[in-house]
Amino acid sequence: MKAVVVNSVAKTFKAEKAVVTALHDVSFEAAQGELFGLIGPDGAGKTTLFRILTTLMIADKGTASVDGFDVVKDFKEIRKRVGYMPGRFSLYQDLTVSENLAFFATLFNTSIEENYDLVKGIYSQIERFKDRKAGALSGGMKQKLALSCALIHRPSVLFLDEPTTGVDAVSRKEFWELLRDLQKQNITIVVSTPYMDEASLCDRVALIQEGRILDIDSPTGITKKFGKTLWAFKADDMYKLMMDLEAMPEVRSCFPFGSEHHVLFNDPNQSTDAIVKKLNYVNLSVQKIEPSIEDCFMDLMRSK
């Protein structure tokens, strides 16, 4: 049985003279024990999708189920077995760390001791602050507390809505390491994130943009599907290089990627020697590279 099934879900909002379609026709599945990533920028529809899956909203069209339970008809069952960490920090700022954890444990008719083994790895990192008010914690610590609270009742599926947004790079890395550890407990984890580089840490991902799914596959599967030859160009004056490349008719797209430009040519068999000659730069390096998730995302965006 699939842990999460989404079938042609659509959702529209009417807000102050504007009609916003958050989700057009979204379908995907996540297997049990999978670390599934929902990758897309703000406004892609990630939060709306999560709210539908955690039974907080009802879709206009389509069906969805979690652990085999329908999100509309059996919402009470889902609410017993799902862990949810919404976008904002949803803890009680004026309660201490241990009070927050105790509250969420009792909310699910369990106790901290019962499932402590599950959260130990995370909680031990913030345990020395257990008497500190949650509002006084740093971003990274709040995250870990929120995760502990979402896990304390041993959910079968964990929904994490942008848990790493607004948090520094070190904490982000640590957080994903925690998620990988959790997977070993056979908990299905569905995470959303706007950071493309985090996609490679998932088992499978769905790329989502403006309410539509661009692709669903494992990270390597997506990059394999890219199908085009990608080149990395590097020179001393990167801005000038970009202007020159963009002006060339042979170039399909040229995007800056850190210290290099990722270039796609219109002709798949384009010879780079010809380009290099045309550019006539002093120090120019050209290399064939494998596409990253971000390259794939951008290419998919443009073709839709």
């Binding site: 949810y84 009680y92 700022q93 909310l107 699910f108």
Partner: protein
């Protein structure tokens, strides 16, 4: 200078585009002027009084005629004897009684002095004062007319007797009113703010995605305010009795029970507000404008309801504080028992049930 003007222009845009602000800026002042200007008045008109004419002579009939003709008074014909007076006051049927002794005219003509007794219901000392003042003025008028024709120093002594609140203490009136206000503030406003805060913070989302039955969440939120209110009620009553010298004439248990009932009514109201408000600010605004202000204006503790235009009197019926004020006044100050306030109690119970039902129905188990 240009900077300044541009800033002003921007502020106007913000104003026009926020309907709520527009309402507060234009709607509210209009409403308040109308209400305060036309409706709320300390003036008394058509107040029900009784006249006990033990003399039945020309003089008494003349005065009675003036009293009946006055727009201030509405004479109740069916209160005829001394025995009728007490219950009439108790049930609030009359607010004042004018009693003529049996040989009124005789005494006036032969001794040049006669008394008229004015008995007032001083649970609302301001009203009592006004009524007796008007009555005295009419009597004095007659006295002067009498004198005028014959140049004899006729004196009609008006003897005042104030029931329930002989010292005419304003606090008798205020204690029930303040209690209503305090409970309204603490229970309705704070409860609604507390629930809405949960929504605003986002913790409500997380709580909903759990096995807890949502109504339990709500009741859990009400309990602290309920307990707090009992403390408040206790302290107000203690202060009234020991510091303000307002005695509790009636049954203490009944009084406390009614207060607790009102607390629940107001808590349910707070719950209702929270389901309509999406931000703490809105909840506070609705509580203040929609509850607190009407409570102050229409419950009868500052301005007598009987003297308001009919539409406002009708509206005042849906203000829970009006019924509560009536009950507390009668139990605490007049010392009446349950038989006198059962109707009003029932109304409060009905209101509570209504608010609770509607809020529970409207309580969103989902985010939208």
């Amino acid at each position: 200078m240009k900077q300044f003007i541009y800033f002003i222009r921007k502020e106007f845009y913000h104003l026009w585009r926020d309907p709520r602000t527009m309402f507060i800026l234009f709607g509210m002042p209009l409403m308040q002027i109308l209400i305060f200007g036309f409706a709320l008045t300390n003036e008394v008109k058509n107040t029900r009084i009784a006249i006990l004419d033990n003399a039945k002579d020309d003089a008494s009939r003349a005065i009675i005629h003036e009293l009946e003709a006055s727009r201030y008074f509405d004479v109740q014909e069916d209160v005829r004897s001394n025995a009728d007076l007490e219950p009439a006051f108790r049930t609030g049927k009359i607010k004042m009684a004018v009693v003529f002794p049996d040989r009124f005219q005789d005494e006036l003509l032969h001794a040049n002095k006669a008394p008229i007794q004015l008995i007032g219901d001083a649970t609302d000392p301001n009203v009592a004062n006004t009524l007796t003042y008007y009555a005295s003025a009419i009597i004095l008028d007659y006295q002067e007319n009498l004198k005028g024709r014959e140049q004899i120093p006729y004196t009609i002594n008006t003897e005042m007797r104030m029931l329930y609140n002989p010292q005419m203490k304003g606090s008798y009136n205020f204690v029930p009113g303040v209690m209503a206000m305090v409970l309204m503030l603490v229970c309705a406003m704070m409860t609604s703010i507390s629930i809405v805060r949960e929504k605003e913070l986002g913790t409500m989302e997380v709580i909903l995605v759990s096995p807890i039955i949502p109504i339990r969440v709500v009741i859990a939120k009400m309990v602290p305010y309920f307990l707090l209110s009992t403390v408040n009620i206790a302290s107000i009553l203690l202060l009234s009795v020991f510091v303000l010298d307002v005695p509790i004439q009636g049954n203490l248990v009944l009084l406390v029970a009614e207060c607790l009932l009102f607390t629940v009514t107001v808590l349910a109201l707070g719950l209702l507000i929270s389901s309509a408000a999406d931000s703490q600010q809105t909840a506070m605004l609705i509580s203040l404008m929609g509850l607190f202000l009407p409570t102050v204006m229409l419950s009868g503790f500052m301005f007598p309801v009987e003297n308001m235009p009919i539409p406002l009197q009708v509206i005042s019926n849906i203000v829970p504080a009006k019924w509560f004020y009536y009950i507390v006044k009668n139990v605490m100050i007049k010392g009446l028992g349950f038989t006198y306030v059962w109707k009003e109690t029932l109304i409060l119970v009905g209101m509570t049930a209504f608010f609770m039902t509607v809020s529970i129905k409207k309580f969103k188990t989902r985010l939208e």
